[in-house]
């Protein structure tokens, strides 16, 4: 039995390569195609081979806490800071941002398009008895969405399974569900732009500070996880934060639209201007 395990280990031993790292990542960065664009440039610049495991932010952080990753690239700032504070991460840096948007059917049955702020959007959805599809998976997007409900003093759980639909899935799967049901969904802009199954749904509400979406990057702490490839993780992190990396992020476009806005230099992000 032991021989068997070793045999398989030899069949495919890729992880032992010195310059290969695993990044536990949020799904939006993968689904939007950002990595397909960035990683070949990185490989050419630094020789580092990056393997992306795209899961929700919550699962990404949990996986990294079990040392199953050399780096984190996620978007839930408070959780990220706790992760570093508890010693799992070396440090956390702002990497880039974009924003969340509220999408829904063009007909907009709850008339959210004319809302003044996010609170009003949510209130109108509830009052109109419209459906809302939520990630429900403890991801960065999900955490953000829950904080918005809280700010609006609405408890969506009372409508769980009736109008508040928690898919427990990734952004893409949730969008598929939402679009099919004519439900409202809060999604990051990048995933929405790259999403190919929009049908008759469209962005109905956007551009408010409350919808700001900050991505952060954290190398996993080698003191906690002796197996991490600290050097390569550091190389990738610094490359992302460098002018080259930031410029590469800024130049990624889908259908002529920029999806991510580099902001490694702004570690306060007090007043980011939304497009």
């Amino acid at each position: 039995m032991k021989h068997l395990v070793l045999l398989i280990a030899l069949t495919f031993s890729t992880q032992t390569l010195a310059d290969t790292i695993i990044v536990q990542s949020t799904t939006s960065t993968q689904n939007s195609g950002l990595y397909d664009y960035l990683l070949p440039i990185l490989k050419k610049d630094t020789g580092v081979q990056v393997n992306i495991v795209a899961v929700g932010t919550g699962q990404a952080i949990n996986n990294a806490m079990r040392c199953d990753g050399d780096m984190l690239l996620v978007h839930a700032r408070s959780v990220e800071e706790t992760f570093v504070a508890e010693g799992y991460g070396e440090y956390r840096r702002n990497l880039m941002y974009n924003d969340f948007v509220i999408i829904g059917p063009e007909a907009d049955p709850a008339n959210v398009a004319g809302s003044r702020d996010v609170n009003e959007v949510l209130l109108r959805i509830v009052q109109a008895g419209a459906k809302f599809a939520s990630r429900g998976d403890d991801s960065g997007t999900h955490k953000k969405e829950r904080s918005l409900w809280q700010a609006a003093a609405i408890d969506p759980d009372t409508g769980s399974g009736q109008w508040y639909l928690e898919t427990g899935s990734g952004m893409g799967a949730t969008l598929n569900t939402g679009v099919s049901l004519g439900a409202y969904v809060m999604t990051d802009r990048a995933t929405w732009i790259a999403f190919a199954n929009k049908q008759d749904s469209t962005i109905l509400f956007e551009g408010k500070p409350a919808l700001f979406n900050q991505y952060g990057v954290i190398p996993v702490n080698a003191d906690k996880c002796p197996n991490v490839n600290r050097e390569a993780a550091e190389t990738f992190t610094q490359w992302l934060l460098s002018e080259t990396g930031q410029a590469a992020i800024g130049s990624y476009q889908v259908e002529g639209k920029q999806l991510f806005f580099p902001n490694a230099n702004d570690n306060l992000n007090s007043s980011i201007e939304l497009k």
Binding site: F12, S13, N31, V53, R66, G172
Partner: protein, 231 residues
């Protein structure tokens, strides 16, 4: 219809990404199958022909494990292979090896339980003769495996079909990493989540064609065996 056309286009243009993914799928599932068969066929046979207390219980457990959800298998293998898990030092998580292990774990009870039934039937027939000829132990196990080879082939192909169509376990332990652990099923899951439903469906069509070929093979093997009185 679009999906069919797209699937056809991907195949006839020998789309490089498609064939990389398809080849990895087949390779992973074949190796998982080989490992599983080495364990499950003798196990199923041994359970069919050996009498010991608790044998019925073992078969019951085996049959129950047949229905184990792939996600649970994936989770167990993940916890085992996680760098903080007992086998973390091997560095297998997020590699094809991890997917092989998960698939092998998933299909071993299936092949063992199916082969157990095949061999039990054959044992009804052979038992007295083998006793009379003094054939026991390892010699008996090998003889049963050889004589039931055609029926066992269909068990094995059933295991392969299950392995290659499986997504829940491999996405957890493989991580669906592009050019490393992305197989047909995880690619379909990804394309679906990107909303590329046509591409997802065309990949599904390719997988379906593969499954059709496997099943045609199963039927072919059965017919051949029946014709030659080997079944």
């Amino acid at each position: 219809m679009n999906a069919l056309a797209e699937a056809f286009r991907l195949i006839i243009t020998l789309d490089a990404d498609l064939f990389e993914i398809l080849w990895l799928s087949i390779r992973v599932s074949l190796i998982a199958l080989a490992i599983s068969a080495v364990i499950s066929l003798p196990l199923g046979t041994w359970l069919a022909i050996t009498k010991f207390p608790g044998r019925k219980f073992c078969i019951l457990v085996l049959n129950a494990l047949m229905g184990m959800p792939p996600v649970v298998v994936g989770l167990l293998v993940y916890l085992l292979l996680s760098r903080s898990g007992p086998l973390g030092w091997m560095g297998l998580l997020y590699t094809p090896s991890a997917m092989i292990i998960a698939q092998a774990v998933l299909i071993t009870p299936i092949i063992a339980a199916l082969s157990n039934q095949v061999i039990e039937n054959l044992h009804q027939e052979y038992r007295d003769t083998f006793y009379s000829m003094g054939v026991t132990g390892r010699r008996a196990v090998v003889a049963y495996l050889v004589d039931a080879r055609y029926a066992l082939t269909t068990c094995i192909l059933a295991g392969f079909g299950r392995a290659i169509a499986e997504v829940g376990a491999v996405i957890i332990v493989g991580g669906n990493i592009d050019h490393l652990t992305r197989v047909m099923t995880t690619a379909i899951a990804l394309e679906t989540s990107k909303g590329n439903l046509t591409l997802a469906l065309s990949l599904g069509t390719v997988l379906l064609v593969l499954s059709l070929l496997i099943n045609a093979l199963v039927i072919g093997v059965r017919e051949y065996a029946a014709k030659r009185q080997y079944a």
